[in-house]
Every structure is written in C-alpha cells, then in structure tokens.
Symmetry: C2
Subunit: 397 residues, 2 copies
C-alpha cells in the first residue's frame, strides 16, 4: 500500500510555490514584466565567468574518468581540504578537511546535521520567523521542532522566550543568519548571549547542545552590517552552507557541513554523516560541481544588485508608513502588513499584480516577505504600484 | 548528544571499500599495474563525446540563470518528458512525464521508491545475492528486509523460497536485473513467473505488492541474453535507474524513478516522492546534469570492453574448474570459491595481488565477486596469476 503519510502531504501545497505559479500564469496573460513577482528566493544574477570557464576547461582538458568518477561519500578530499582552508582564511578558524562534509545544498547539509546530533523525540529549537521547509526537514528525522516566537522590533533573539524553550530534551538549536525571511543578521551581542546561554544550559543539563547554523546567505551582507561567524563564538557549532546564493548555483545542489574543530566528537561527525547518507540516498554532490566550486571558494557572483534593491524598497516602504526592520543581508525584506491578517493583505495586493508572501507559514503572522532578487528596474516600477495599492486599500498617502 | 546509532555504524566498514583501499595502498608499493584489483564497480570507460560536447555547449551558449536555476523537486519537466519518451521507444511502454521522478542516482531513486510504498514495519523482499547497501537503504526507512536465499545453479529465482517469504506484511519486492554481484539477468520465464506469483498474492492478501526494479546495469547486456524489461510484465512496477554505468557518470549522481502508468496511484506517486525528498534533503539531481543527459538518452558509452573481459574471465575460470554462471550483463562475475570459506579464499588470493570480494555480505557465503571494469590488458595478465594461485593453493591444474 502506498504510504498514506506522504499521500496526505499532497494537499499541503507550499504558499510560496502557489504564489509563484500564480505569478507565472498571470505573466502569460499580461506579460511577466507587468507582474511584480516578489515570491521566490531565486538568485537573479548569473554565476561568475570564472566558474563557467572552470567547468568548460575541466570538460575539455581533464580525464572524464576522473571528473565523473564516484566521489567518496564525505566528498572529494582535496575539495574538503580547500573548503577548510578558505573558511580558516576568512573567519580565523582551524578547520581541517576531516571537519567538512560535502552535501547537496543546504537542505542536504541540514538533513545530515539534524540526524547526526539528535534522535527521534529530541527537541530542536527554531526561532521565528523561519524558512517553512524547516518543519519538514525536522519532522522527518523524528525530532520535535520547538518554536521561539519572533522579537519583531529587531528580529534578534527574545532571550526570555528562548530560555523558556530550553529544556533537558533540547539537543540542538537551529539559527539562520542572515535570515530568510527577515533579512536580519544576528549581531555580535546576540551571538555572544546565545553562546553564553547555551554553554550554561549544557552545564545545567549535563549534555551537549549543538548549534546548527544555516548560512546560505552568508555572502549577501550589506554595508555596515554586524554579522559575525557564529562558529567563532560557540564550540559545538555545526555550520551548514550552500553555494546556491553566493555563486548563483541553486540548480547544482552543492554545499557543505563544517564542523567546528572544538565541537564534541568533531573528528567523527563527518564520518557519521557519511553513514547517514547511506540511509537517505544522498551520495554527495556532483563530482564536477565539487571540483569546480573548489576553484571559486573565495569569490561570489556580483551580488550588489540585492543591496541596491533593498535600499530602494526599504526607503519606499518606510515612506509608505510600513513598520520594517532594515535587512543586513539576503534578498528578503519583511514588513508588517497593514492589517492584522497578512493573508488578506497579500490577497488584496494580488489585484495590483504585486506578489507578496504572507508570513504565517514562517511562524510570524501579520508580516509578509518580499524576495527582491529581481531586476532593479522592476523594483523601481513596482514602487508607484505599491503606493497606489496602499493608498486605495488602506488610505495611506 | 550525538546519535549513537550512527556512531556505532562507524565500526562496520564496507568489505568492498576496505579491499579497494588495500589495493590502492598495495599499488603504491608495487605499482598499481601489478595489482589485479577486481574490487570496485567503477566504470572503466569514459562518458560519450556527445555528453561532454553537450555540457560545454550549454556552458558556453546558454543562459547561466537557466542552466543553474532550481529544478522543480520532481525534476525538470522537459527532461521527465524526454525520459518517458525514450523508455516508450525502447520498451514499448506508455510513460508520460508525470510518471518520471528525477533522482540523484539509483541510491536516491531507491530511497524514494521504498518510502513511497512502504511504512515502518512493512516487509520488503530481496533476493540473494544482493548489493550490500540494500540493507542500509531499507533499514533506515524502518521497513524490514526479508531475504530469499540464492538459487546458485543459475541465480534465477527460487520460487518455493520466494513463496514462503511472501506474507501479509510484504509490501514490496526488490529485484536487480542484470544483477550485482552475479551478472545474471532474470529471463522472460523468471519475470513471467514472478509477475504471476505477485498478482496472485495481491489477490490473496487484498493489497498491492510493488515490484521495485533496480536497473543501473540495464544497458550492459551481453550477446544473446534474454533480459526483458520487468515493468512490461507487472503493472505495479517502479523502475529505478541510474546513468552511472550506461553513460559512465557515477560522480554526477543522476538517475530516475519510472512509475508504470498502470501502477496503483501512478499519477500521484512521483508527486509523493517530491514530498519525500523534502524530508531527506534530496532536492533532485543537478539541473545541468539533467539537461545534458536529456540529450543523450538513447546512447551509451562504448560498453563493449565489459563483454570482452567477461568472456576472457568466464573461459579462464571455467578452465580452472570454477563453478560459475555465465553473466548476461553488468561488469561482475560471481564464481564459487574453492573452499567453503570465501573470506579465507579471498585472503589467500590477496597474497598473489588478486583482489577478490567474498560474497558473505551479498547474502551468498562461499562465493566471490570480481568487478571486471578494468583494462582488458590487465584482465589478460591476471589470468596466469590466477592459475598460479589456484594451483599452488588448491592443487588445481
């Protein structure tokens, strides 16, 4: 018999995907250039010429048996070593190759990190607002996701609420900085306080609590932002990374897990992830993608458009009277809706061909997300439309 | 706390991998050309020039945003449609795009197929000899693997034993034809009888029994072999495929699941697999690999070396007095060892720098596997060494 638990999931469509499909369909009616589609977090800038050239050179010059050969299940050793060295250079860490596990994007990285440090019935704490897929990622490991409510004045951490959520069953804490959907990065003060509280609770409970830091937006950081590297502050940190955003390679499914060398069992965690991968059909990212990103570790696509777009939108939204925290990075902004029901708010915006995502699924009702990984020219054109919308629907000037 | 169940797996090293590592180390001592390394099932022929040219052209000419964009979680629609059409042309099937789920190799395909049609505590029947990783693939779904003992005279199916293994809890039956490690393909008679027995048991138990057919070696079929396409014979067939062997692309991690259009819930199974992928961090194969294999669906690498090697080894082994069934495909041959303990037999062979894999882990003690995906010249040089080994150790002439 087919598995009913998966069958039932078929009715739970992703809100983001539904809106994105609507935007595409609407684009076919009125021209996609007239749909202000802020639904999907898809990079809008190409990968680097260097990445493209590297792959072409590899295909032309190198032995197909080598570049298309099986990768060891933990990743190609030279690639793991190069990732470690790049992180050490950039963040003053002491990773070795053995601390790196190559994964098929951040989703693959998280799947392994969760399984390595929790067992079914353990609790994993997540801070709202959060990427809705975390629910599925965690649920299928058998662990329980515990949500700390959002601190909406600045989207840092509500430490009283966090303290209340921590208990003997807490085995991992998941953070995502800079954050999807808020665009906010945890500042030094937040990370220090988080680290101190986790250290104290480890003492109190007499067991490790792992900090799983999901960082696909790490390279998209705006001017003046205080966005420290969490693993520098807390020994039991497992960092999950993806090249999807930094090198605009979402379709290549490549990322990694980096285990802090000071983490408990640091020397065996990557090997354990190799064992985990056998049970979930993972088998590491493409060998050619591994070899190609190895050549591009210290570079990114031209990500400047995201900051340009953020500034345009932040100023416009503030002008229009929205409550909104200025993003420190990512390509998201996260204003408070003009009515309590953000679903209704976004539904009304749709009539203006403004595609906004209500944040109920992100654990933050009353807010909405705009993914501004789109052309700047379209952002500019969307602003008068946005103004028309809020004037007509909410009487804003 | 780290998950003890994975930690304990660290001591269970793969026999194949250990032997392969030994062969590599030994090669550093005496020159790898002097190590007759039959351990690993790694393709020994390059991918096609057409595949290489396709990727280069794509990287040079196409929009990086398109080729590196997110693939839908079920796979790129045009690729799914093209896979369906290729299977229809070749096997007289009626697949549509909606019946194809793109997966990261056969391991990814199996991970989804198992989860889609079983739930924890269900039973999945596997026939010995079998690929040892099946144990891990199945165990981590929570289902129970039930092994049907081998029929060593021809490595077809022992139907009495199969009948005895089937019960109300049987939700899926896994076959692998042509087979790793025996090299044997199930013939028409076997598939017909298997299909009839499954149909009868479905009636008897009042529920579906799914046939999961793992076919990474489908294109490596030798002259005169009777190796039919199982899905033609049984409606509830879910076919798992990988391009690792046919196009020599093991490192690209690309394959698919093909759901027989006549299968129960055929129209939703691929969508269910999309849901499953959310929980295990799968997120489909690389977009560029999908787009590239789409252009190469009806071609293969030059696979003729495998048949050449098989014939050399089959004749030599038969000459030396081994009991061995002639392979119909793959790049494996599976003789009976010259003593009851195949581990001891392979251990003795190691002294001659012959690297053979004992089949205890394949569910078939007393046999050993040779992976002859190596240069023909080396196969030829290995034969006198093999003769010396069996003469000196077992008194064979």
């Amino acid at each position: 018999m087919i598995n009913e638990s998966y069958k039932q999931m078929l009715t739970q469509k992703s809100v983001i995907r539904e809106l994105s499909e609507y935007a595409t369909a609407r684009g076919k009616e009125i021209g996609y250039e007239n749909v202000y589609d802020y639904s999907l977090g898809n990079p809008s800038v190409p990968t680097t010429q260097h990445y493209t050239d590297t792959v072409i050179r590899m295909y032309r010059e190198e032995d197909p048996m080598t570049i298309h050969g099986y990768s060891p299940s933990l990743g190609i050793e030279t690639v793991r070593e190069a990732v470690a060295q790049s992180l050490n250079r950039r963040f003053g860490m002491n990773y070795e190759g053995k601390h790196i596990f190559m994964a098929s994007g951040a989703a693959g990285a998280l799947a392994h990190a969760f399984r390595a440090v929790t067992k079914p019935e353990d609790e994993i704490i997540v801070f709202a607002p959060f990427f809705p897929e975390y629910r599925e990622y965690i649920r299928r490991t058998g662990a329980k996701m515990v949500v700390v409510p959002p601190k909406t004045d600045d989207f840092q951490i509500d430490f009283d609420a966090f303290n209340a959520a921590l208990n003997e069953k807490t085995m991992a804490v998941l953070i995502n900085t800079p954050n999807n959907p808020s665009g906010v990065a945890y500042n030094t003060q937040t990370i220090e306080k988080l680290s101190a509280m986790l250290s104290q609770k480890q003492q109190e409970f007499g067991h490790d609590i792992f900090l799983i830091s999901d960082e696909p937006y790490r390279e998209i950081i705006f001017e003046g932002a205080d966005a420290p590297y969490p693993a520098r502050f807390y020994d039991n940190t497992i960092t999950c990374y993806s090249f999807s955003k930094s090198l605009s390679l979402p379709g290549e499914r490549i990322g990694y897990v980096a285990i802090n060398p000071k983490c408990t069992d640091a020397d065996i965690l990557a090997v354990m992830m190799g064992q985990i991968s056998r049970g979930i059909g993972h088998n590491c990212p493409s060998s050619t993608a591994q070899l190609a990103v190895m050549q591009c570790l210290d570079e990114t696509s031209d990500l400047s458009v995201y900051e340009t777009n953020m500034n345009l939108l932040y100023d416009a939204l503030t002008d229009m009277g929205f409550e909104v925290v200025k993003p420190a990075g990512t390509f998201y902004i996260f204003p408070k809706a003009l009515e309590k029901d953000a679903v209704a708010f976004c539904q009304k915006a749709k009539a203006y061909d403004l595609i906004l995502v209500p944040a109920d699924n992100f654990g933050c009702p009353g807010y909405f997300r705009m993914a501004y990984c789109i052309d700047t020219e379209k952002v500019k054109r969307s602003i008068p439309v946005f103004k028309k919308f809020v004037t007509e629907e909410y009487g804003k000037q």
